[in-house]
């Protein structure tokens, strides 16, 4: 019973805002809510995103390197966290679902 309660407590709901073309690809409107196991980081959020929406695999992170695609940026609490370690804990407002984790496409012509 004690173990089961611990597992439940480790799941948190985070909010993610996707760029338009990925919302279209995933067939979602607006932001998405995702259950994240453990402390929310870029990696755990993206793992949860890809598990829920398999069609997004390879579109945010490169398949082979797992690196963020060059024309995408990650924001948390209006801070650009793109160059932080993917395993660094995100700010508590994002981790608690108050603020969204934002995946933003670069403003580029074409």
């Amino acid at each position: 019973m004690q173990r089961r309660r611990l597992l439940v407590e480790l799941i948190v709901m985070v909010r993610v805002i996707l760029p338009l073309h990925l919302r279209t690809l995933a067939q979602v409107d607006g932001e998405v809510e995702l259950p994240v196991a453990g402390e929310p980081t870029q990696r755990t959020i993206l793992d949860a995103l890809e598990a829920r929406y398999p069609m997004l695999r390879g579109t945010v992170r490169d398949y082979s390197t797992q690196q963020r695609r060059a024309f995408l940026r990650f924001f948390a609490c209006n801070e650009d966290v793109s160059h932080q370690s993917p395993d660094e804990p995100l700010p508590s407002p994002v981790a608690s679902g108050i603020e969204p984790f934002m995946i933003v496409g670069a403003i580029a012509g074409g």
Partner: protein
């Protein structure tokens, strides 16, 4: 035959044009996947409602879409293209080693016998195959064993852009790579060999090299798959022995630079090209958009101009942007970087734009339904 469906890939989405067999009135559906580059779409010869599309973007990478209802609805399928083993390096533009990196799918070629089997030609150059309707992809790495470390990109990238399946020999496949050349397998893709003898490219250090030629497109007629036609960077070529030896058939073309080449559906010696002025001026000579037709398998060419702009036209026609239907008479279709898709319902004698003002057209395929 009930009609014709034209699959148009553009820089900003896919469009599907449909008509009855008279090919006079066209319905336009799209954009599908608006905002994404659609390098290629092609339907299965076994099940015409099964269509595969290559969707990509600089932001989000590669997606493969599949339709099972003729393009009305789509579902994303597998998009992981992992080279088998350590792919090592190829040559970069300056001759230095450069790691092999997957960038995008240029061409999708559905199997002639199985709607769930499809080949993908990718950049950096390799061929992949899916046997589960595009859900998963496996490389045929024997191709890169053909001196892959010596391959070098063309200006558009090191792309495998042409895949021809031999309708009479299921073990034989032809492919072409810019700028490595043409290759053939006779064992279903396990081993490959260069088929570039007879090509001469003055712009590479050894003009007669076994590899390194910038082949833009090859084509064959299903009734005679041993006869191949090639539009090279410069030169239009022909082989009568499955690529073992090529000879030039540029003849009286105003320019033998160009990208697409295709074969009439019912006349194996009737071929089409679109001459382009040069490799640095990607537009037609004299501002006149002309398709050239040879009824003799090359050498003797006639300009087809009726209905095509004959002044102030400076569009390009990309390598995968020409196709033919199987109606009688044979229809010929091509798309331009200016966004027009031209069609001729009579083998090239008369042309009209069946849609114009699309984004730049990257590919045109035709299904005869």
């Amino acid at each position: 035959m009930s009609g014709v469906r034209v699959l148009v890939g553009t820089r900003k989405g896919a469009f599907i044009l449909t008509s009855d067999v008279r090919r006079q009135k066209w319905d336009v559906s799209g954009p599908h996947f608006g905002g994404w580059e659609i390098y290629h779409m092609k339907g299965s010869p076994v099940d015409p409602n099964r269509i595969y599309a290559s969707q990509s973007s600089s932001w989000f990478g590669q997606v493969i879409q599949r339709s099972s209802d003729g393009g009305q609805t789509w579902e994303p399928v597998g998009n992981q293209f992992a080279y088998q083993g350590d792919p090592g390096t190829h040559q970069w533009y300056d001759g230095t080693p450069h790691p092999w990196e997957f960038k995008r799918v240029w061409h999708l070629e559905p199997s002639l016998t199985d709607a769930d089997e499809v080949y993908a030609g990718v950049e950096d150059a390799a061929i992949f195959r899916s046997r589960d309707g595009g859900q998963s992809w496996q490389e045929l790495p024997g191709l890169r064993a053909c001196q892959g470390p010596k391959w070098q990109p063309g200006a558009g990238g090191m792309c495998l852009h042409t895949i021809l399946l031999d309708p009479q020999n299921p073990l034989r496949i032809f492919i072409a790579i810019s700028a490595a050349g043409a290759f053939r397998t006779d064992d279903g893709g396990q081993t490959w060999r260069p088929i570039n003898q007879g090509l001469r490219s003055e712009y590479i250090p050894d003009p007669n090299a076994e590899i390194g030629h910038c082949v833009h497109r090859i084509a064959l007629h299903p009734s005679r798959p041993e006869v191949l036609f090639m539009q090279k960077h410069w030169d239009v070529m022909r082989s009568d022995n499955a690529g073992d030896l090529w000879r030039e058939v540029s003849g009286n073309l105003p320019s033998d630079f160009g990208f697409p080449i295709d074969v009439h559906a019912h006349e194996p010696e009737t071929i089409y090209v679109v001459p382009i002025k040069s490799d640095s001026e990607h537009y037609p000579p004299e501002g006149k958009l002309r398709v050239y037709r040879s009824r003799t398998g090359g050498d003797d060419w006639e300009a087809l101009t009726n209905g095509l702009p004959q002044q102030d036209c400076y569009v390009n026609v990309l390598r995968d942007a020409m196709a033919v239907d199987r109606c009688d008479p044979c229809g010929v279709y091509f798309g331009t970087t200016g966004g027009q898709v031209y069609a001729s319902p009579d083998g090239g004698d008369n042309w009209s734009a069946i849609v114009r003002d699309l984004p730049a057209v990257t590919s045109v395929e035709v299904q005869t339904l």
